[in-house]
């Protein structure tokens, strides 16, 4: 088991290294930052000087190693616009994003698991049809539209909930529903199909042959097995949410990493963009690593692989 975790840990490190390479490449694709840093009337000599200062005239791999060294120290450079460290900007915005994602995730799981499980034990029942129709719709609604429609209904028309900004629980409701909608639908459908697969297995039949109650058969024997693929799926959804937060935060003016990153892209403030990408990616890698550890508790077979 330890070997498995160590192996996954090293794989995670490799992935983070890969992410740094891609972030570095994107930064380079964005073109010459001297254009942005210098006033338009600056001459070629001034540009050359700045390029030299920034190290842009060195070979690409030296630049990358320098970049790697810097990010290891949390130094992603200065924000062009805010004139502060890009890293501290992103870290400052992180709690808001984490609050939103976790709220959305909890909402998704709390709704999706029961819906998926009940649909699976009563396939083709009215409950199943209703649940799966909603799930299908949930997977088809674009996040941004869902957000706008929720604002239209609950903020504009009914005036029950605020439409923008971060504050108490009231502010959280609409963004969390918006962000969680797709994942709720996806996890519910996936839970249903995993449960259906598992309910069809010989070992669930063995549990029935033993005369165990339906409650134990479904929740102990079937669900523990089905939870393994569902967990994989859920962790992938976490990644989707971290990505989808960009849109949700923009719609609800939620002061998180996503909104900040979009603003930074508009302003061509690339240090902030690369920090946002890198930090979100690393968080996701970290979550995946945690999920790997959970696997070892759910699936005894992993320990010996």
């Amino acid at each position: 088991m330890q070997r498995y975790i160590i192996k996954r840990f090293f794989q995670s490190l490799i992935v983070i290294l890969g992410i740094s390479v891609i972030v570095f490449i994107i930064t380079h694709l964005t073109g010459d930052p001297t254009d942005l840093l210098l006033p338009p009337e600056a001459g070629p000599e001034e540009k050359e000087l700045l390029r030299n200062q920034l190290g842009l005239d060195r070979p690409i791999y030296v630049q990358y190693l320098g970049f790697l060294k810097n990010i290891a120290h949390g130094d992603f450079g200065q924000s062009f616009r805010h004139q502060t460290s890009a890293f501290s900007l992103i870290i400052g915005a992180l709690p808001a994003t984490i609050e939103l994602t976790i709220a959305a995730m909890i909402l998704s799981i709390v709704i999706a698991l029961p819906v998926g499980i009940i649909s699976a034990i009563r396939p083709r029942s009215n409950y199943d049809r209703l649940g799966m129709t909603f799930a299908l719709l949930g997977q088809s609604i674009p996040v941004y539209w869902a957000g706008l429609m929720l604002i239209l209904l609950f903020a504009v028309t009914l005036g029950w909930l605020p439409s923008t900004g971060r504050g108490g629980i009231k502010h959280l409701i609409l963004p969390a529903i918006t962000l969680g909608l797709f994942s709720t639908a996806a996890i519910a459908r996936f839970t249903r199909s995993s449960m259906l697969d598992v309910l069809d297995t010989d070992y669930v039949r063995t549990a029935r042959i033993k005369g165990l109650t339906e409650y134990i058969v479904v929740l102990k024997h079937a669900f523990k097995n089905a939870s393994i693929p569902v967990l994989t799926m859920t962790s992938l959804q976490f990644g989707r949410m971290l990505s989808g937060a960009v849109i949700t935060e923009t719609i609800f003016s939620w002061p998180g990493v996503g909104r900040m990153a979009v603003q930074a892209i508009y302003n061509r403030d690339f240090p902030v963009v690369q920090t946002a990408v890198f930090v979100t990616s690393v968080i996701f890698v970290g979550i995946n690593f945690l999920v790997d550890i959970i696997y070892t508790y759910l699936d005894p077979r992993i320990k010996y692989k």
């Binding site: 396939p123 083709r124 069809d200 297995t201 010989d202 070992y203 669930v204 039949r205 063995t206 549990a207 029935r208 042959i209 033993k210 005369g211 165990l212 109650t213 339906e214 134990i216 102990k220 024997h221 523990k224 097995n225 393994i228 759910l298 699936d299 005894p300 077979r301 010996y304």
Partner: protein, 326 residues
């Protein structure tokens, strides 16, 4: 024979599967009974309906496609077909138990062996703590699993195929069912392991006087283990008789073909007698006797009407228009 009491009486059982492609009559009008302490063999090829028969007895036909459409299964004074899933719980694991085909997949991979056996034990005895652990170890000892004290904490993937099947049998022992159904219990196992498992099952039968339904495609296993045999073909019983009659005095062309097509160890033949043709397509069964296209004795009548089950003598029944001539 151990008494004459019928513990299970299946009458005209029909279990059909309703699929997108049509209705599969997996079991189509099967009647038989099981006596106390009897070892009843059901033999047939794939698709003959032998497994579905056993699942029907336990009311575990895969839903929603499969359904018992007709028939009665009498266990004592009760008709199991009429029981709800909830009511069936009183029978499963107490009166009836089944060991299924593939020991590799019939144990839950994410729970310890001990835990899974404990569930079976607790159907009969409300044990907890050390008493329960002791009982589990006792069960594992009964099925000759070595070092049971450590093995109760193993997971199924740490067991070999034979050991998994032993663990299944220990569950059966814990439940002490009146009827034990074994669906191809040794098919997935090696010959030497098969011999071990069959021996174990014989011990159980002698010790507890359990009635056993053994489902297999292997006539050798039937000859060794069973007292009474049903031969199934395309969802119907074509012949049923006690084991000696079946091997020596069979009257159905299918039974005879099956026995003759086996290579006999120690008696090397030049050619094997084989049954011509292909197994029946269950979605398009012929109108008359389903074996007719492959039968050497078929006459015109065979392709029109299905032959009724007729008694040859007291315990020997057959479904063939021409059994008198064979």
């Amino acid at each position: 024979m151990n008494g004459n009491e019928k513990v299970l009486d299946v009458r005209n059982l029909k279990t059909h599967f309703f699929t997108n492609l049509g209705v599969v009559k997996a079991v189509d009008g099967v009647s038989f009974y099981l006596r106390k302490g009897q070892a009843l063999g059901i033999v047939g090829e794939s698709g003959s309906g032998k497994s579905v028969t056993s699942l029907s007895i336990l009311q575990l036909v895969p839903k929603p496609a499969g359904r018992i459409v007709e028939g009665e299964i009498w266990y004592g004074e009760e008709d199991l077909v009429k029981k709800s899933q909830k009511e069936m719980r009183q029978y499963r694991g107490k009166k009836l138990f089944m060991i299924s085909q593939d020991p590799m997949t019939s144990l839950n991979p994410v729970f310890k062996i001990g835990n899974q056996i404990a569930e079976a034990i607790r159907r009969r005895q409300n044990l907890t703590g050390d008493d329960l652990t002791e009982k589990i170890i006792e069960m594992l000892k009964l099925v000759h699993i070595r070092e049971p004290e450590t093995r109760i904490n193993s997971y199924p993937h740490q067991f070999s195929g034979g050991m998994k099947q032993r663990a299944m049998i220990s569950m059966a022992l814990a439940c002490q069912p009146e009827i034990l159904i074994a669906d191809e219990p040794t098919t997935a196992l090696d010959v030497t392991i098969q011999a071990q498992i069959l021996k174990l099952m014989m011990e159980i039968r002698q010790h507890y006087n359990t009635s056993i339904i053994l489902i297999t495609h292997d006539l050798g296993v039937i000859a060794k283990f069973c007292d009474y045999v049903l031969v199934m073909y395309a969802g119907k019983i074509v012949e049923r008789a006690d084991v000696k009659t079946l091997f020596k005095g069979n009257r159905h062309p299918y039974t005879r073909g099956l026995i003759n097509s086996l290579p006999h160890l120690g008696k090397k033949q030049q050619r094997l007698a084989s049954i011509k043709g292909q197994p029946p397509d269950l979605l398009n069964l012929p109108k008359g006797c389903p074996f007719e296209p492959r039968c050497d004795y078929s006459v015109e009548r065979c392709s029109c009407d299905y032959p009724p089950i007729e008694p040859v003598d007291k315990e020997h029944f057959i479904s063939c228009w021409r059994w008198r001539e064979i």
